[in-house]
Amino acid sequence: MKEVKISSLQLSMMMYPTILATAILTVPSVTAKFAAHDLWMSPILASFMGGVAVFIAVQLHKLYPEQTIIEYSENIIGRIPGKIIGFFVLIFYLEMTGEIARSYSEFIVSSFLFKTPIMVIIALMLLVCAFAVYGGLETMARAAQLFFPAFFVPLIILIILLSPDFKFENVFPVLEEGIVPPAKGAVVLSGWFAEFFLIAFFLPFLSDRKKAMKQGIINVVAVMITLTLVNLTVLFVLGVSTASKTYPLMNAGRYISWANFFENLDAVIMAVWILGAFVKLTVFYFAVVLGTAQWLNLSDYRPIVWPVGILIAEFSFWGIPNMMVFARDEDQSFPFYSILIQVLFPLLLLMIAMIRRRKGENRAVNE
């Protein structure tokens, strides 16, 4: 299992859509609810959390280079407590994967395929993701690498095509009510940036481990810049009404009319977003499957790919009764849940590990 190797560049190309896929669609409206026309500042503030998550993941990786969080939590705080922590982490990722699958399908159903049952879309997507996860990490990394330009370039083109509709005055007044509103928006966004902790599942497979920290930080900055750009674009086009839209970038995309030919490009946005959602889902899916295999001490994760896929499909319904609940969950509980599992737990583990290691060193010196 461990002979599989990916490069840190490939990891970055996997993580970038992983954070952005859901973020570019819902984040503008979520942040706009709190920050109004200062929404573009929130990503800058929130990226701090991403940096922290990367830092913790890399530090833990340095202490236990061959292990993921599921394995080293047992080493750090003992077998049973470690299993309990691992269980919480796995349940979190399982639920998140279900939520991503659901929100992706809701987006498709509400914007394009109005009559298609939502289960069909979830099942189809999870099927494709399962193929990729089954194919292994190398396959996932290569696919992510191939899809990266297909995800990134249309986003830039979209922003460029929207530029004629920009109303730059929408950004004023800056910081009308002080730093608190964007900071509140940033708290919500931190939930997304905390997802950078997922690299903890991939670091043991890295071929160039020394670059992990540098690439991770570059990645956080890239995501921050992209989100700021997207937020600004949406703000310039839609103004303060951003908060009332579910998918503001989609609404902005409908403004595009270029040479009377490139019109109604929302299907293109959908295609791009499917690619992003695919990469995001495979990354989460892989983390769940790999973690579960390690939690159960299995030698190979492949046999549980399909069962876990079915579980994810079920979680996409168990976790979210309807989109109203999901929207509220996204603003109010997701950030804290996400930060708790992906930053605070690992931070705790890191601190205990550091203390234990120092004690061990002291003991070694004393002896």
Binding site: S7, L124, V128, L146, N264, A271
Partner: protein
Amino acid sequence: MIRNVSKLLRRKKEKKRLDQREAKPQEKLHANFDQNVETFRSIYTNCSDVLFRSFLLFGKTRAMIIHIEGLSDVKGLEDYVLSPLMKETADTPQSFNEFLENKLSVSKVEKVHLLADCIESISSGNPILLCEGEETALSLGLAKWEKRSIEEPQAESSIRGPREGFIESLGVNTSLLRRIIKSPALKIQPMKIGEYTKTNVAVAYIEGLADPTLIKEVNNRLQRIEIDAVLESDYIEELVEDNPYSPFPQILSTERPDVACANLLEGRVVILVEGTPFVLIAPISFFSLMQVQEDYYQRFVISTFVRWLRYLFLGVALLLPSVYVAVATFHQEMVPTTLLLSIAAARETVPFPALVEVLIMEVAFEALREAGVRLPRQIGSAISIVGALVIGQAAVQAGLVSAPMVIVVAITGIASFMLPRYITGMSIRILRFPLIFLGGTLGLLGVVMGVIAIVIHLCTLRSLGEPYLAPLAPLKKKELKDMLWRAPWWMMNTRPHFTGESNAYRQSPHQVPNPEGDKGKRQGRR
């Protein structure tokens, strides 16, 4: 678990192959002449093409020549073997076989001890000379049979470049390689595959360029083959592939010696098979299927342009019909209004939904193509007339299909013919059908899902251990020079990575032609 069960089932089904060998491999020739002759006669019972010619050697010793009619040079046999040996009347010399070797004016003579080797020699056209009182036979290198002359390759024609193609004879094919690569580093390892055909197979590579583990792997996989017959190199291709279920070819086949040599020089292995002009090249990547020899024989700007045109039409061949169906069925709002109106007007009279319409047309097109390939050339033109008139014109006029659909299918057809290797075009054409279904049922979402699935499949594929999408994913920046564009020759300094790090450079750098600079230098020297 399922795998284990099926393995158990398979074990039960496995039948023991009957050992059909004519002679046990270790059986030696007898000292008794009559017994030897008897053995050969019993092996070759009911083989009217095997000729036994007995004569008296030097007028006293009994001897026999065994050869197969039409496989050996009869004139040579008469002039250089029979007549000197029969006419000569000398005393029996000290070493009989040595003397024979000195007397025979044939360039290639081998001593043979084993019966199996004798049979092999006879069936490959080299006559066997048996003598009384000798335990060894002589294999005379007089093989000569009718073969096609070297012609222009039919399946891979080009405007500029050598016009020689491989033929069915292995010896000629290896000589074609050797004529291009004169260095002794070009190694050709012989092998025999096929229980009945005993087909000669040769593995060619360049020592120092090809990765030794790769050669080992190729040899291992070839030696594992146990099959009755190898009639074409595809037999071997299917038996050594990494993923036998994939629609994509993981081994390249070519008719052109220059292509084979170019690949040898990039560290790949070439497998030549007797009886077919198509040689196999491995390992390859998906992008080798997009390259043609002519890319390297014309100006790099043009080659780059053509290469990008190919990538574009690869996308068209794969996606155009399914995207058209998806847009016409689900995403009409994507189409600009005027275009939408004309499509709608054309489709008004058509009784079928777009999905059915495109399937009818695509299947009809595939049938036309297949019919055109198999038919004799004289009738082939009739097919195109029928196809163009009936399907193109009449179907539209009758209102069975819409004109835009005919255009879509035609463009797709042209696009799939643009792919340089016929086999690549085929795999793309096959994958088009599931995509059309996905586009007709789930719209663009389905198409994107299908493309993702294909990409995942391509990412898992390997060709003899090399990733199939090699220079792109995993990314090899240095090799993009031969994928994203065709770099001019003075920039192609490094070899592809699987050549190994030890021998990374293929030419000296800084060879950009710069006449002005040269002039300056020369003047400076003066």
